[in-house]
């Protein structure tokens, strides 16, 4: 089934927005509850905070990739699909650019 809606244009960036909200919210929650001081033995001493943030990031990344793969099938059809496809790629790149820092930066300082 091919969805035919103008909303497709915003699909990619909706995933980006969801990642943004989830990351920012869970970052604050984690800092409040001191998850950055909980080192996980099983995960090579990674903090619980870093782990959950990276997980959120990766889940959204996977969703973004899936969307791109899905839209790719119709990327030569009509007007909406190619646009939605390019927008999804842009959103995926934007996700990497704006949230890539979850791997490196201090979470609660």
């Amino acid at each position: 089934m091919r969805p035919r809606s103008i909303l497709l244009l915003g699909a990619g960036f909706t995933i980006w927005a969801s990642a943004f909200v989830a990351l920012y919210a869970m970052l604050s929650v984690g800092c409040r509850f001191g998850w950055h001081e909980v080192a996980l033995e099983g995960a090579g001493g990674l903090s619980l905070q870093r782990l959950q943030l990276v997980a959120i990031f990766l889940v959204h990344l996977a969703a973004g990739v899936a969307l791109v793969a899905l839209l790719r099938r119709w990327k030569d059809r009509g007007f909406l699909y190619p646009l939605a496809y390019v927008a999804a790629i842009a959103a995926l790149s934007a996700s990497v650019f704006s949230f890539g820092a979850v791997f490196f930066l201090s979470t609660c300082a």
Partner: protein, 222 residues
């Protein structure tokens, strides 16, 4: 820096362009890098615009779609990635430097429209902050009424004093001297005059002053 044509144009007791600490210097360096890069980017973009009018054939030969791709996407993205990475690294460096709490903590309490500084041992000064040179100091910022913001441009970036919150700003002045400080968050009719002086002393002198200040603490500084 060569960016200041007339040298005095950059100086002043509140000037960001005359930093006196490592963290302020980092910000200033970042500024000059961005200023030069920005000038370059501006010139380049303007040249492309001029080319579009006087030598459109050159741009057409390059291809319009490619022009948008390179000018609008690839080049800015590369520049931006570099800049963001540098800014992140600078930020992390500041955090790493301040990981352990400093030995000296000074409480800065903001109130409409004065700054009160409380030193260990109970000394209090008003609108005048004494600091030792060459040492880390944590300024513990709180407010008793509205939001104020603590800024000593030559020593560090600003940080807000927010009622109900405590913010800690790490200062490390390179050498003795007098610097200016201001409130930068609008806090009512006394906002503009809500300034303070910062005197950085050698360790010895700093101790002496605190000792003598203790006697006058009740009078509240100036």
């Amino acid at each position: 820096m060569a960016g200041c044509l007339v040298l005095s144009a950059c100086s002043g007791p509140l000037s960001v362009l005359e930093p006196e600490s490592a963290s302020a210097r980092n910000a200033t360096t970042l500024w000059w890098v961005m200023a030069y890069a920005g000038t370059g980017i501006f010139m380049a973009t303007a040249s492309v615009l001029v080319l579009a009018v006087v030598r459109p054939s050159w741009l057409r030969a390059f291809g319009e779609a490619r022009l948008i791709l390179w000018g609008g996407l690839v080049i800015p993205l590369v520049l931006l990635a570099g800049l963001v990475a540098a800014a992140f690294a600078l930020g992390e460096r500041g955090i790493a430097a301040a990981r352990e709490p400093a030995a000296l903590r000074i409480e800065a309490v903001a109130r409409q429209w004065i700054w009160q500084f409380r030193y260990p041992g109970g000394h209090v000064t008003t609108n005048l902050l004494h600091l030792p040179a060459g040492r880390d100091v944590d300024i513990v910022l709180t407010s008793e009424d509205v939001i104020h913001s603590f800024w000593v441009p030559r020593l560090a970036g600003k940080l807000d004093a927010i009622p109900g919150h405590t913010n800690i700003l790490r200062l490390h002045a390179d050498r003795a001297g007098k610097y200016g400080g201001v409130c930068t968050e609008y806090c009512g009719i006394g906002h503009a005059p809500m300034r303070f002086d910062v005197e950085v002393h050698e360790e010895e002198a700093f101790r002496r002053i605190l000792a003598s200040e203790a006697a006058t603490a009740g009078e509240g500084g100036e």
